[in-house]
Symmetry: C2
């Protein structure tokens, strides 16, 4: 906890470099040994892999604005620990047994330990956050607190949606802005704030990460129904769960009352096979042209994110790693 | 959240005055309206009463050392919100349907909402903590984080004890030092730190609150078996649950193997009535003289707490409200 990550050198870093520096810092993270059932699930959860998107974004933004990577690393650890805490508690709420191909903490240790070690994890995130410089701490903490509450709000709206017959496209966008974008935009703002970026730039960085987060979540929604099976991804999980997704809320907004009934009830059928359910819903999606509309929306958000970057007050060379981050996130070459 | 509690006047306050000031500040606490299922449980939980021991201690210590009550109020709200957060999540883990005579959040809204609104509550505690002066924030946050983790550790040890055949007296004391004392000693230290008390005094205040917390918890354990039924308290709850208490761990340490078997298994009996179970265990407690030994231990801890106060560097007049707090907590006239 007291490490200063002195081994980090100062130079322009690619996303991959940043990720390696982050993983090195994470590997140095120390937790108490006892009680084992409190701390082992935290170590298990943090070593479960993942793309470390939020800390990489935080550090990349921080470096772009000339920040001190060593100091920003504490905040980077805080956002990654926070993110994994949300997954840990989400898995209890969703009764999810598997996380990143391994048993979830909930499945491995049971519900009570998952609740309590999750709580300890959230506090541990704050323990790392508290290590940023005293000058940055008040503002960084304010951004972090607001971000963390937004993520909880997003999760609550998502749970609320499960019981609702029809969710509007606007409400859906507001939900994913909290549930997915908030953590990216908060991380980016913390990175910029710690580098003492200008207020205008901090606002722009917030817009960049918000739009990018929306594009990322919408793409995730589309890929769940239209992804490449060849990549090993199981297609149609959202459809079978009857989940609200961007495809579904758009389809509902465009459908006739009769089509809506089909959209609502197909996943509940005891007659249809999984394949038939997926085919039924996707046929309706095609008919209502929601895939195309979604792709347009993704493109719009992604382009907005990139164009905000062009207006930053820093040199184009420094902006480059942020463009790289955006393209990597969306799995694009350019 | 942005209130400065400007209406608070500066003067020597009794515990009762402090409590009133705290309740007034708490009544001004603002939370977002939506999503209702996230924030309503927090409001419900915070308005459930309770003795507000931790914020009153924090504020009383703060005033004794000449602190600014307005500023300390933010931290006082943080510790009280944190305390109620722990109760909220504990009730899920214990499947407890009732809290302070009302349905628990867990019983009223269900488990998922209890988990998530508890998380939001913990973050809300930090949001209030973040409002203390930038100069105090780093140290206050460090104390708060350590205190919060200790409470989680105490809860984990308590859960671990449930599955154990015999818990040593030492391990039991270490558990309640975390589960009960840590929140009192952390609150007291925050109050002293924010008033810029001398390091020596901060350490003493820590010892005072730690010993007092232990005395309080041990007394609570004794009262559960030997309290006054006339006061409306149901006697023997811990015995019927087979809970590890100070009486039980002491009895186990003094018992013969045969007596231990009785201590371990009586609450599980399908033959004995509740009254018979309680009578059986209390007869053993009497035989092993654990009530008397517990009372001695309570007295020792309480006296230690009071005698630490005498060594503080501040005037006796300023120490007086702290003595008052200690006596009130233990339900004593002097």
């Amino acid at each position: 906890m007291d490490h200063n990550f002195k081994n980090i050198e100062f130079m322009a870093h690619t996303n991959k470099d940043i990720l390696e520096l982050f993983e090195a810092a994470l590997a140095q993270m120390q937790l108490p040994e006892e009680p084992k059932k409190l701390y082992d699930p935290i170590i298990y959860s943090m070593s479960g892999g993942g793309k470390r998107l939020r800390p990489v974004l935080l550090l990349t933004v921080n470096e772009a604005f000339g920040g001190d990577l060593n100091e920003a690393m504490h905040a980077a650890l805080a956002v990654e620990i926070f993110h994994n805490f949300t997954l840990l508690h989400d898995d209890i709420m969703d009764n999810a047994d598997v996380r990143r191909g391994k048993p979830s903490v909930y499945a491995k240790w049971g519900e009570n330990i998952a609740i309590l070690s999750g709580d300890a994890m959230l506090i541990t995130a704050y323990k790392h956050l508290a290590q940023v410089s005293p000058a940055s701490l008040p503002r960084v903490m304010q951004i972090f607190d607001d971000m963390a509450l937004e993520v909880c709000e997003g999760q609550q709206y998502d749970m609320d949606f499960e019981g609702e017959k029809k969710v509007s496209v606007v409400d859906y966008m507001l939900m994913i802005e909290r549930k997915t974008s908030a953590l990216l935009s908060g991380s980016a703002m913390i990175g910029a704030t710690m580098a003492q970026a200008q207020e205008e730039d901090i606002k722009k960085i917030y817009r960049f990460a918000t739009e990018l987060g929306l594009a990322f979540q919408l793409q995730d929604d589309v890929l769940d129904s239209y992804g490449d099976e060849a990549l090993g991804k199981k297609i149609g999980g959202d459809i079978l769960e009857g989940k609200q997704t961007f495809l579904m809320v758009q389809a509902m907004s465009r459908a006739t009352e009769q089509q809506r009934e089909v959209l609502r009830t197909t996943h509940l059928s005891s007659v249809l096979s999984d394949e038939q359910k997926i085919a039924t819903i996707k046929a309706l999606y095609d008919e209502l042209e929601v895939k195309h509309a979604s792709e347009q929306q993704i493109e719009l958000r992604f382009e907005r994110a990139l164009s905000v970057l062009d207006t930053l007050s820093i040199s184009d060379e420094k902006i480059q790693p942020l463009r790289e981050f955006a393209r990597n996130l969306m799995g694009r070459k350019k």
